[in-house]
Symmetry: C2
DNA sequence: TTTATTTTAGAACATTGTTCATTAAAAAAG
DNA sequence: CTTTTTTAATGAACAATGTTCTAAAATAAA
């Protein structure tokens, strides 16, 4: 009997349509402005139905956060087009910044909002695998740089954390609108210029 | 007639007690969890009274944000105890990180939350003076380093933005709990170690 | 003492996330 | 084909939120 299989499929479809609609509305109106009732209305279900597919709003956040990491990792792997690990590392930084600029709401979900991490706590997961995967990838590229003598410093953890912090910092200052209106001469190019200086510092040492 | 003066004083007192209570509750329970009704109850006024002193919740946020900057700037000036601008810059970084660790909720308000900046937009203020003041202070210390030949790079704007981004990045990764659970060997010391590497990079170039 | 002004309170509104009892639908069993 | 059981979806309801509005209380001015 393929009946139960069809039912499982239908359930997954409904679940997916909830997620897709949630994502669409989030990107359109932001997280705060998107309500369960909004999502329900769009997929023509009652609000309470959504709670049969997701425990609460945080679980929707968490799921989208996980999905978004798949996309980020995919983008990050484009850096492998470069042979030189140094160029690869620079490409990685640019890809990361680009991803954040292209998907500010998703970036918020992945790296700023508390909801996904709270949900992780609920699951008793000791590791944040999505973040760890991306971080490990960064570390592997840095290790390659070290192996080829392109970077003097050898503490990979700290180096990776430094690089991540820097790009994350630049990106979040932009997203939170703190990078503007502080008297910069060319605010729109500040990330590029800062990125270049940082690269120089990193490789000339 | 000192009557009207007393009334003005009383109004300011009430306003201040609203702010103090708001701050106390924010620090205690976080922003989301603190409601207008909470604040009202604590100062033994009705919720609607608060709206005679503040336009809305965002104005309370904005005012606390401004107050907090006074405290941060005050802390930052402790760096002047050092003679050497290089040591001063390092002290500045440590003070900044310390401030964020000591006052995570306030840091959120000052550098992450949208509310204060939204309120700035409402006021048609083209400049974020609180942020600019702190940023200008950082730039002055960097300029001193450059003048003494302690840093090779000369683009002060970018250098300042780089340093700010890096410490801001480290701090926000901690506050959003993204720095843990990614497989670091000693997560509790990562900020210190990263800070040291960054200092080395900055001054040996 | 009366009038005017300012300050406070109380009730009410629209929205929010979420729950729960009930109904509708579908599948399984007879 | 009918009945029973399981599953899915709904609608009403709850408590809490920020905020507004009208009326009352308190205070100052006349």
């Amino acid at each position: 009997m393929g009946v139960s299989e069809r039912r499982i499929r239908e359930r997954l479809d409904t679940r997916q349509s909830i997620l897709a609609t949630a994502k669409e509305l989030f990107l359109l109106k932001g997280f705060e402005a998107t309500t369960i009732r909004n999502i329900a209305e769009k997929i023509e279900y009652s609000p309470s139905t959504i709670y049969q597919y997701f425990k609460d709003k945080n679980e929707i956040f968490y799921t989208l956060h996980t999905e978004s990491f798949l996309e980020l990792i995919k983008q990050m792997k484009r850096s492998e087009l470069h042979e030189n690990p140094l160029e690869q590392l620079i490409a990685l930084g640019k890809i990361y910044v680009q991803f954040a600029e292209d998907n500010p709401e998703l970036y918020d979900l992945m790296f700023i909002m508390e909801a996904p991490i709270d949900f992780l706590n609920l699951l008793d997961e000791t590791q944040w695998i999505e973040g760890k995967t991306a971080f490990d990838y960064l570390k592997s590229v840095i290790s390659a740089c070290i192996d080829k003598g392109l970077i003097k410093e050898t503490d990979v953890d700290s180096l990776a954390y430094l690089i991540w912090s820097t790009v994350h910092g630049m990106v979040t200052l932009s997203l939170s609108k703190r990078g503007l209106r502080i008297g910069l001469s060319n605010p729109e190019t500040i990330i590029d210029r800062t990125f270049n200086i940082f690269s120089k510092l990193l490789f000339k040492s």
